[in-house]
Symmetry: D2
Subunit: 131 residues, 4 copies
């Protein structure tokens, strides 16, 4: 069994688990660029103690390299748990993250998201270095 | 020895390691609120393979509870490492994070940041629920 | 408010949240040494979807340095959640971790543990380099 | 581009990046079982500030479910970095982890490891519930 067998993909407009990456299509080498990632952009995912998005990881695969780099990991830790019981707590974290990155190669951003009951989901977006 | 002995604090305008929290002073209960955290707001921290901010964690301590909640953890994973050697890689992650949270109690955000050679640093900011 | 105000300590024989560190008192410089950490050594902590130990972090503070190093972080991710509902899932992670480290200075291990409803707890243990 | 395109696999006896999972082939439902994971079991992987294993994640895919669960994540945080420069620091974390789990379904453990310059690698191992 491969990790590929564990990771699901779909159209994020129809499937609430798919991570969406928002970043420019073209960036200048070495310039700070904001990359936003989220789950549930079109259809909100539940956020309860029992069912929630736990994390999103963001990778970068340069076109000219066979190895991918991890850019960032975002953990969403609070989902209404409390000593009074599930969903009575004072804080919920939504599945939204932001990275600020400097790139010097064209390539692809790949996001991986984890729902605590529906497993792993992925999305991707290309990015080019402007001449 | 206590964790408190490991965590340093200072004025973030003078000390580049201190995490800064940007959030509204008042929020409505249950409303989505954006909390931005970063290190190096006034004086940039180095971002090299050998020296960088590795992560920031964001906690929330409600006024009416003795226990704190972890809201989010942000890992900054890429710092120019590559098979060609240190600081020759195609991607750098800057120490900037964003959480979207829903709160139902007044309290304090506490951010903890980790520099891989200068250890742990903290900052905090209060937040109130609007009546 | 300081992180110190969020972190609780107690005798681990009487308080089930306190992380316990098991490591040799003396080690040879550069030799691989196993450090075990756990929560609930004497009194088991609950492990349910609603209440569980989420993570333990292990730090090292060398005697001759003012900065602490993070050695490892252990995330305990599965707590019986499932599409059938809370505590019906097929896997639970217990709050037990192990690091293999090489040290070249005497100092103190500090462990920090997080319960999703009872917040942050700490424990520590000294270690010396053998001449 | 898919996450599958980023994750490499190989025979761990010949390739030093492949995570190895050591666990019983058969377990009793609900019984605590130790699962050890490591990288470099046969051929050690470098552990330097510039090149090291950063983390291993351990997943479980039950045979009777289409969704995978994350069991644990192990971060190896210290790699000789220090204020004196790369590889002069007092602590190194080796890429070894241990989870203690309770299972109630047969399935497959999948480990994912990340080298900071050679990217993502995977390994797997089946486990059955004893009648
Ligand atoms: Fe879900
Ligand atoms: Fe620093
Ligand atoms: Fe607890
Ligand atoms: Fe490598």
């Amino acid at each position: 069994m491969k990790l590929a067998d564990l990771v699901q993909s779909a159209d994020w407009k129809a499937e609430k688990h798919v991570p969406v990456i928002e970043a420019p299509d073209k960036v200048k080498a070495g310039e700070k660029v904001t990359v936003e990632v989220c789950v549930g952009k079109e259809i909100a995912h539940p956020n309860t103690t029992e069912h929630h998005i736990r994390w999103i990881k963001l990778y970068f695969k340069p076109d000219n390299s066979k190895f991918a780099y991890e850019i960032a990991a975002f953990e969403f830790s609070a989902h209404g748990e409390s000593v009074e019981g599930a969903n009575k707590g004072p804080v919920y974290s939504e599945p939204v993250g932001k990275a600020v990155v400097k790139l010097s190669a064209s390539g692809t951003f790949v996001a991986e998201a984890y729902c605590n009951i529906h497993g792993l989901w992925e999305g991707s977006k290309g990015v080019s270095i402007e001449e």
